[in-house]
């Protein structure tokens, strides 16, 4: 084992891992974090805690992770390159690890253009791949990015994001390869609605043997309404929602749409379970955390394995 991470252990055991996420509140209210995390207890192996998601200011991921950790659950620290330069990032990593947070996800982050601080300076001192590399170097070589030795280096289990649907599509496998090369241990993918395209990508991943270097957690998001489906299809960059999904959502009465969304999500998981190279699922139920247990159960991923 490279780290103490629960997620690493689950994945190493050969079980399908399940993660979900929790967006910290826009205020200094620790209860909100606890409330959300509590819903997931027992149903997931680790909880992603987002970092100023959609470029909106929220409680820092680090702080929320500490709260979750104190609840006895396993948080995944998300961190974006948008808001901090390499000094701040490394400092926060040291801090988080010191609080027992041993799993993290390295991202570049949404552009501030869409957020609540469009005037903010876009830092991007390093990019997400360089970020992965930096965390990996801290762990493996025990040095800071600048080259100095670290006293007691943090042993982070390193995650990254992968979007199999963005363009240019042919670069998508290569990009994963690059992340693997940089030292990513696992990736969580963009929400998958176009399963065919995902499988094409996955085949590319398997053909290059990448699935043996990096665990792929397939991202899924249940849709609440047909409106949401349409919005995701048309407005969210890098999202691929096929027409039949939109039609299917729109084809049922409004009050049944949420149910249909869950159904689609569960079906997707069922199908993806059999796809070679898929090591688990990342269920992003945005502001709908209460549905995660249902999805996990229906998808036959419950109960979660106990790892010593």
């Amino acid at each position: 084992m490279k780290t103490e991470s629960t997620l690493e252990k689950i994945l190493a055991s050969g079980n399908l891992a399940v993660t979900s996420e929790c967006g910290p509140p826009r205020g200094a209210v620790p209860d909100k974090v606890k409330e959300k995390a509590e819903m997931l207890r027992g149903y997931v192996d680790a909880v992603n805690v987002t970092d100023n998601q959609t470029a909106m200011v929220r409680m820092s991921s680090f702080a929320a992770c500490v709260i979750i950790k104190q609840m006895g659950m396993d948080p995944i620290l998300q961190m974006v390159t948008r808001d901090r330069n390499r000094l701040a990032m490394q400092a926060d990593i040291l801090g988080a690890y010191a609080h027992g947070i041993d799993t993290m996800l390295c991202l570049s982050g949404d552009h501030p253009h869409f957020g609540d601080h469009p005037q903010a300076m876009n830092v991007h001192d390093i990019d997400s791949i360089q970020f992965v590399q930096m965390v990996h170097t801290m762990r493996e070589k025990g040095t800071f990015q600048g080259g100095d030795d670290i006293i007691n280096p943090p042993k982070m289990f390193i995650g990254a994001a992968a979007n199999p649907f963005a363009d240019p599509f042919e670069l998508r496998v290569a990009r994963l390869a690059k992340k693997a090369k940089a030292g990513a241990d696992f990736v969580q993918t963009q929400c998958i609605y176009n399963l065919d395209k995902f499988e094409t990508w996955m085949k590319g991943v398997v053909d290059r043997g990448l699935h043996e270097k990096v665990h792929v957690l397939a991202g899924v998001t249940p849709m609440k309404t047909a409106g949401m489906a349409r919005y995701m299809k048309n407005k969210v960059p890098g999202m691929d929602v096929p027409d039949e999904i939109v039609d299917r959502m729109a084809g049922v009465p409004k009050e049944k749409q949420a149910e249909e969304g869950i159904k689609i999500c569960v079906e997707s998981i069922q199908r993806l379970k059999d796809v070679e190279g898929v090591s688990g699922f990342h269920i992003m139920a945005i502001e709908w955390e209460q549905k995660v247990p249902e999805i996990v159960k229906k998808a036959g991923l419950y109960p979660r394995p106990e790892i010593a």
Binding site: H124, N163, F165, L171
Partner: protein, 222 residues
Amino acid sequence: MITAERKPLEEIIDSVKPFQRILLVGCNECVTVCAAGGRKEVGILASALQMNFMKAGQTIDIKELTLERQCDPEYVEELSTHMDQVDAVLSMACGCGVQEIARRYKDKPVLPAVNTKFMGASERQGVWAERCQGCGDCLLGLTGGICPIARCSKRLLNGPCGGSTNGKCEISPEVDCVWQLIWDRLKALGMEDRYEDIMPAKNWQTGRGGGPRKIIREDLAE
């Protein structure tokens, strides 16, 4: 070239309000080419300011002048004969020009009339786009001649983020995803394998990160 854009008239009007006699100075270099501060723009701005004050029954004395280049002291010297007849200088040059005038004429307020934007190229007539951030350590050789620092919204050096859709950037469908461009170009050059190398974290010392920069050519400098 350095590109610029005229400031909103309201801002300019506000800035010249306290003054009666204005020397409006254009520059015949980059800002002429990008239609922000050449002789023509000087004329239009002078006319607009004039009308604005006439509207309120006031007059303003505007002298129009366009220098060959506002960033060279020798050209800026040409203004000296006019300086005692004006209360302030309104410069339509880039920030370099404004500062050069301020440096030379210490007792005159110098006001910028344009916002200096970026180093760019003409995409077509009337359209300029950012091309270079002057990072001081050019890596275009690795990226097919297309700069991800200047042209990627997130300055990603190792490939496109997950928001790239149909070759466009997630921030706007008007913006090309530079990594799409780079990738297309690398493919055209048969250099796809270049992509697989991880580009290390950028050394920003050569750029603004290292503080204000200066170039000294020892053979030329006196």
